[in-house]
Point group: C2
Chain length 293, copies 2
């Protein structure tokens, strides 16, 4: 079998950043300030630190302004609500995110509901979730829209495909199921949403023309679960201990890449697949927030 | 094979109305006014006339107040927006619906967005659509929630089932896919959403433990498309000409009932299946609107 197309999220994201950089230069040449993304980080979770650092770095690369607001993990819910409220009313801030997860004493949904939907560049507020479901213009959630954009820019036509999604989370699986079922391209897939209660999971996987793994179970999808010629998208990024690395860990996807890749028409690597696209989508949303206001 | 369980929507809806009637009597005995549902009807579409009449009749049966606002089909969008605005600000009105379809010169989404989400008992406003997607308390759309309630009250445990839904409309198929995938009962289904672009539709149908037909194509689902022992829910209610009837038509579902029923574990009839449950759900939402305010 021919070697699979590598869905190069790193390269595709770089291309999107180039486009945003050029558009931003034009905007600045027209005398307008650059878009500003603020990120709220609570506590010292290693993954969260890393995600936020990547987001800030991406802003710098495209010439957006950014602002990092750090708080100790013992910040109260009311204090965090005040922070959100301040960002809502700060005209310099076009969009902001509150990095998840939050400490257990804070109700993430209460924080989410407090974010001004017009600055909700994560697309997690109910108004934006609902607008997406209804096909209205909105901020699309970064990971699902990043996956769609990765497919689109790499010439994967999804119409008529049977997409099987593993994982029903509110930030990846569930919204991606909606996006892939939309009557447009990318979209127009028959979509099967699988999860922890799914029976005969392997049989579902084997029927997929487009298989998306978003469970956070390293190496879960093996070669015997993939139909030859399928397109495989790996959303997993679990930190697995690796003493040979300076960091002490390696990022592992939900797909056993080495054995699955030879079967595929196209596949995303981990790292360098969905991750960079997620950040590119966040930049796109920030651009949209700045240019709409 | 044993004869199938008939999922008697008419009887189940009557039971829900009895419960609402009893709760409403208690409410009135406590000195509070009954819930009030208003319905806005534009033009003279036969189906719409009939739906609204059934909704008003159901209100009367449970002792709710109702108000019917009728307008000619040439009402302007701005005039209709004024009507919506009036209802939004009328403290006597707990919830209201604008019956669809609207004439082509009116943008139904503009009207939808103008409805106060706290009075949106159809559950069509983006805020409520998004709250449903996120599992937050909200007004659930009447047909999907009516189907879930019909299954629940008739002892159909859906957890682990493979549900196949035919039709991706924003008011039935798409939200039902979300409800059936939720991590609760009813729900916890593996859900496949099929539509006009689906390839090999029959094979998808044959894999369904729970098959929901919501396409509006009379008699589309035939016996060769149904797995023996499946639960079949028929959302179709197409008016088909019938000269032998005084009305001149008969309501036909998407399922060829006579040939499919003998195969099924359970099946909804048309009429008397999903239709009455939809109206019962609307009453439940109206009750919720009145008691929350």
């Amino acid at each position: 079998m021919a070697s699979p197309l590598l869905l190069d999220g790193k390269g595709t994201a770089a291309q999107i950043r180039e486009e945003l950089k050029a558009a931003n230069s034009q905007r600045r040449a027209a005398g307008q300030r650059p878009p500003l993304l603020a990120a709220v980080l609570v506590g010292n979770d290693g993954g969260s630190e890393s995600y936020v650092a990547h987001k800030i770095k991406a802003c710098v690369e495209v010439g957006f302004e950014s602002r990092l607001l750090r708080f100790a993990s013992n910040i109260s819910q009311n204090e965090l609500l005040s922070v959100v409220n301040g960002l809502n009313h700060d005209d310099q801030v076009d969009g902001f995110i509150v990095q998840l997860p939050l400490p257990p004493h804070i109700d993430a949904q209460v924080i989410n509901l407090a974010i001004d939907p017009t600055k909700d560049v994560d697309g997690f507020h109910p108004v934006n979730v609902g607008r997406m479901a209804l096909g209205l213009p909105t901020f699309l959630p970064a990971t699902p829209s990043g996956i769609c954009e990765l497919l689109r820019r790499n010439g994967i036509v999804t119409s008529g495909m049977h997409a099987v999604i593993l994982g029903r989370s509110a930030i990846v699986g569930a919204p991606l199921a909606q996006l892939l079922a939309r009557p447009q391209e990318p979209g127009n897939c028959t979509v099967t949403l699988c999860h922890s209660r799914t029976q005969a999971l392997k049989e579902h996987c084997l029927r997929a023309d487009l298989l998306v793994a978003a469970m956070g179970k390293p190496g879960f999808v093996t070669a015997d679960m993939v139909k030859p010629g399928a397109v495989v998208v790996d959303v997993g990024t679990t930190r697995v201990e690796d003493r040979h690395r300076q960091s002490g860990f390696v990022l592992r996807g939900d797909v056993a890449f080495d054995e699955v890749a030879p079967l595929c028409r196209a596949i995303t690597p981990v790292p360098g697949g969905v991750g960079p696209m997620t950040i590119a989508s966040l930049l796109t949303n920030t651009w949209q927030a700045a240019t709409a206001s």
